[in-house]
């Protein structure tokens, strides 16, 4: 089976997000007001072959822990759909 996977990796709460801060500042000076707390992370999209949803889920989780996120400073979440 082919699955479509989306993974989102975000800076952990409490961890500095200089990118988010810079964008927030820029939007502010561009006169977009009323914007709170921008956080910027990564968005991954991929297709993956797998026996079933559960197996794929485990694989993706493992990939996140090992490579896609550094859980010291980043959180991740993902969703999986049949392609």
């Amino acid at each position: 089976m082919l699955y479509k996977v989306k993974v989102i990796v975000m800076p952990r709460k409490g961890i500095l997000d200089p990118q988010g801060q810079a964008v927030a500042r820029a939007l502010y000076t561009m006169d977009y007001k009323g914007i709170n707390s921008i956080r910027i992370g990564k968005h991954l999209e991929m297709e993956i072959e797998g026996e079933n949803q559960q197996v794929v889920e485990e694989t993706v989780k493992e990939m996140c822990e090992k490579l896609l996120a550094n859980t010291v400073i980043e959180d991740y979440r993902f969703c999986i759909k049949e392609a």
């Binding site: 200089p18 990118q19 810079a22 964008v23 820029a26």
Partner: protein
């Protein structure tokens, strides 16, 4: 004749461009702070390398909205000479004065090294003292110098001779192995359609004194001075 070096808070080659124009070439030059609202009295503007506002999100994306950039755009549209080096080039594409965009280097790594570029068009205010097809040795230092433009854009650039520098070997062969960052068509620098705005990834201001390893960057500045004097 007066040069202006635009200073964003994260510019870090502003000093080098200033030093070259003032101390090496002996021409008048002043810094222009990013919050200024005027570029009156300047004949040529240099957007130096660096990390303008930290270069978060995309290089040059935030700098584009600074007060001074609105003036730079007007200045360019009036035909004023603008040279964007490295981060300056990135800003010029973001603000739309130059076509295309600069992506992450193909190997995702920052590269600081000498490269050779072939000069493709010597009929510009920035290259008029250079012999045709001449090879220049100049350093690069960037993480996002991978020039991209769509096919149509590339055709148009080629037709209008807007590609000014291409990465080449020391012997002048434009090849894959001479391409440090994956840039399309080995493009290292392009000029605006009107020919008054040049953006380039290599740093000519770092190649202006023999003690630094090359003086080839001087050709570009001397060409600029030459065109300004003829004006």
């Amino acid at each position: 004749m007066k040069f202006g070096v635009i200073v964003f808070p994260g510019s870090n080659c502003d000093l080098d461009a200033y030093h070259l124009v003032k101390d090496v070439l002996g021409k008048p030059v002043e810094y222009i702070w990013h919050q200024k609202n005027s570029v009156e009295g300047f004949d040529c503007l240099i957007l130096p390398g660096g990390f303008s506002y930290g270069d978060y999100l995309r290089c040059g994306a935030i700098a584009r909205f600074s007060p001074i950039m609105q003036e730079v755009v007007k200045f360019a549209n009036r035909g004023g000479l603008v040279l964007g080096i490295c981060n300056g080039f990135q800003i010029l594409t973001e603000v739309g004065l130059l076509p295309g965009a600069l992506l992450r280097n193909k190997d995702l790594k920052f590269h600081c090294q000498y490269v050779h570029v072939k000069v493709e068009n010597v009929n510009t205010p920035f290259t008029n003292l250079i012999e045709p097809e001449r090879i220049l040795k100049v350093p690069i230092a960037h993480g996002d110098g991978n020039y991209y433009i769509d096919e149509q854009g590339l055709n148009s650039l080629s037709e209008k001779k807007q590609v000014i520098f291409r990465y080449a070997t020391a012997e002048g062969t434009v090849s894959n192995e001479a391409n440090p960052n994956g840039a399309l068509f080995n493009i290292a620098g392009v000029i605006s359609e009107k020919g008054n705005v040049l953006g380039m990834m290599p740093h000519p201001e770092r190649a202006g004194e023999a003690i630094l390893g090359s003086t080839d960057g001087l050709y570009i500045f001397q060409s600029l001075i030459n065109s300004l004097e003829r004006l």
